[in-house]
């Protein structure tokens, strides 16, 4: 390991750095740009009141005790979810025998109050909360790219 090899290695390192001087951003400027997640992503859950057969399997499998069964006016059990506890493992949707619970690709929801994150069956059945962006975002899809690692295509 002479001085010369050291110098060459230093220059090689600097040269490699220079190669990447032109910014090729791997990160995403959220919320101006929002990633559209692929089908099958385990995000917020959709609950369909009509399909539910009141079997309680979702509440029994939930590892975080986020889902709780509520007894409604018709004496039937229906699930409600507490998103402060949910870990988005998707077990509930996978064990649901009728597809009453399904995962959606929505994941970026902000709440003002903790209590807002508790969804009793009636609120849960009303639909999935929608994210709010300051202005209309540009939706993109992430893909692996040989040159840059990840690239983002507009939808």
């Amino acid at each position: 390991m002479g001085l010369l090899t050291n110098l060459v290695d230093h220059l090689k390192a600097i040269g490699t750095g220079l190669k990447y001087l032109i910014p090729r951003r791997l990160t995403l400027m959220y919320p101006e740009y929002v990633e559209k997640l692929p089908e099958g992503y385990r995000g917020y859950l959709r609950y369909d009141n009509e399909k539910c057969i009141h079997c309680s399997l979702c509440a029994r499998i939930c590892p975080a005790n986020a889902i709780k069964m509520y007894r409604g006016g018709d004496k039937k059990l229906r699930p409600g979810i507490n998103y402060t506890r949910c870990i988005f493992c998707g077990f509930c949707a996978d064990i649901c025998p009728t597809g009453a619970l399904e995962y959606t690709t929505i994941q970026d929801i902000a709440y003002e109050k903790l209590e807002d994150q508790v969804y009793p069956p009636e609120k849960f059945a009303k639909g999935v909360p929608q994210p709010v962006y300051p202005e209309k975002p540009i939706f993109i899809i992430a893909k692996v790219d040989e040159e840059r690692g990840l690239k983002y295509d507009r939808v």
Binding site: N6, G17, P63, P97, G149
Partner: protein, 388 residues
């Protein structure tokens, strides 16, 4: 540690620079004479919580301590549960597990390399490694539907089949990583600054590594070709041809090189697995036939499975089992005791960082304080994993 003439220095417990732990260093000038890693700041009683949960509910729980290598943590537990239940997953599921475990290993190594780089002051290495880790997270998200907490494996198989675009995406990622490795070589590996900081520092001899029970890449960097994937093949490793990355030097630099070599080896393993993967079911016959036909119809063509209702009531017969896998940081062992109830009677979960703690403690004394971050980073010690 309060004798005259020595200085007691506390590193941490604030997160930057020390991780989730406190390190007490006794200094004579700038030479470390004694070192006590004060662990336990992120102890979360994982083993005790596991006794209060159903077998299936422990899957996400055991991923959490080893969050940057959750694919392998998941696999270790599932192998133990399957031994108790006496279920054999179908071959396709075994291959899918192998792919998941290797992707997870690559992500874990890139994480470790990034942390080592930032600890020796190379921000570039940190940004590069964490940026490239994102690609493998993207691939694992394609497979499992989550970025970090995959919960991909379940007793008897896996939750999802390979998505259609996965092969193409992985081929691109492998090409990118191989090309990128040449740049890594120039900017980090052969960079004279890195070499000056790491070469000959923190030398762990072969004898000491064995005596202190070192595991994983740290052991292999000291010349011991020990890898659970070879010693006791699990998943589909038996059918796959790969080499164990070994180096003789045992210093911080060797540990860095072993990690890079293993990333390259993992790419080869995944390529082979994608080539050899057989067609067929992804869930064991035993559970497959318990799924209700109408539930099966719902996921037809999506490559996903529905859980059979038995999953909330898995009652393995009485018994004790032991399983181990080679994770990115080293060997994960799970010891599971069942008393016939739906919850484990006892779960012992030994993580690689916990086992490397002794090495960490014994390796530091005798070095200069300036070498401390280099040794700490090179061991890829992960406090949440060690504390559990």
């Amino acid at each position: 540690m309060s004798e005259e003439g020595y200085m007691l220095l506390q590193i941490g417990p604030q997160h930057p620079g020390s991780g989730h732990m406190r390190m007490l260093v006794k200094l004579d000038g700038d030479v470390i004479v004694d070192f006590i890693p004060d662990v336990g700041y992120v102890h979360r009683t994982v083993e005790k919580i596991a006794e209060t949960k159903l077998y299936i509910q422990n899957i996400p729980l055991l991923e959490k301590p080893i969050l940057n290598d959750s694919g392998n943590a998941n696999l270790a537990y599932i192998i133990a549960v399957e031994k108790l239940l006496d279920v054999e997953p179908p071959p396709r599921a075994q291959y899918l597990r192998t792919i998941m475990a290797e992707l997870s290993r690559i992500a874990s190594h890139l994480y470790g390399i990034g942390i080592l780089s930032i600890l020796i002051g190379s921000s570039t290495g940190f940004m590069w490694a964490f940026g490239d880790r994102e690609i493998f997270i993207h691939l694992m998200q394609m497979m499992s539907g989550a970025r970090i907490t995959y919960s991909y494996m379940v007793p008897g198989g896996v939750r999802r089949d390979l998505p259609d675009q996965f092969r193409e995406e992985f081929r691109k990622a492998a090409r990118y990583m191989r090309r990128r490795y040449k740049d890594y070589e120039k900017i980090i590996i052969k960079n004279p600054v890195t070499r000056a900081r790491l070469e000959g520092v923190g030398v762990l001899s072969r004898e000491k590594a064995i005596e202190w029970g070192t595991v994983g890449p740290n052991l292999r960097a000291s010349g011991v070709a020990y890898d659970v994937r070879k010693v006791e093949p699990y998943a589909a490793y038996e059918d796959i041809d790969f080499e164990i990355a070994v180096r003789e030097e045992g210093d911080c630099y060797a540990r860095l090189l072993v990690r890079f070599q293993e990333i390259m080896e993992s790419l080869k393993i995944i390529e082979q697995a994608l080539e050899k993967i057989p067609n067929g079911k992804i869930l064991a016959e035993k559970y497959e036939k318990m799924i209700q036909p109408r539930a099966k119809k719902l996921v037809e063509g999506t490559g996903r499975i529905k859980f059979p209702a038995i999953y909330v009531n898995l009652k393995p017969p009485k018994g004790e089992v032991f399983s181990r896998v080679e994770s990115g940081k080293g060997e994960i062992t799970v010891y599971l005791v069942s008393n016939g109830s739906p919850k484990p009677y006892r779960l012992r979960f030994v993580t690689p960082s916990f086992r490397n703690l002794l090495t960490f403690k014994n390796l530091i004394p005798g070095h200069r304080l300036a070498d401390f971050p280099a040794i700490y980073g090179s061991l890829d010690y992960f406090p949440p994993g060690a504390d559990r």
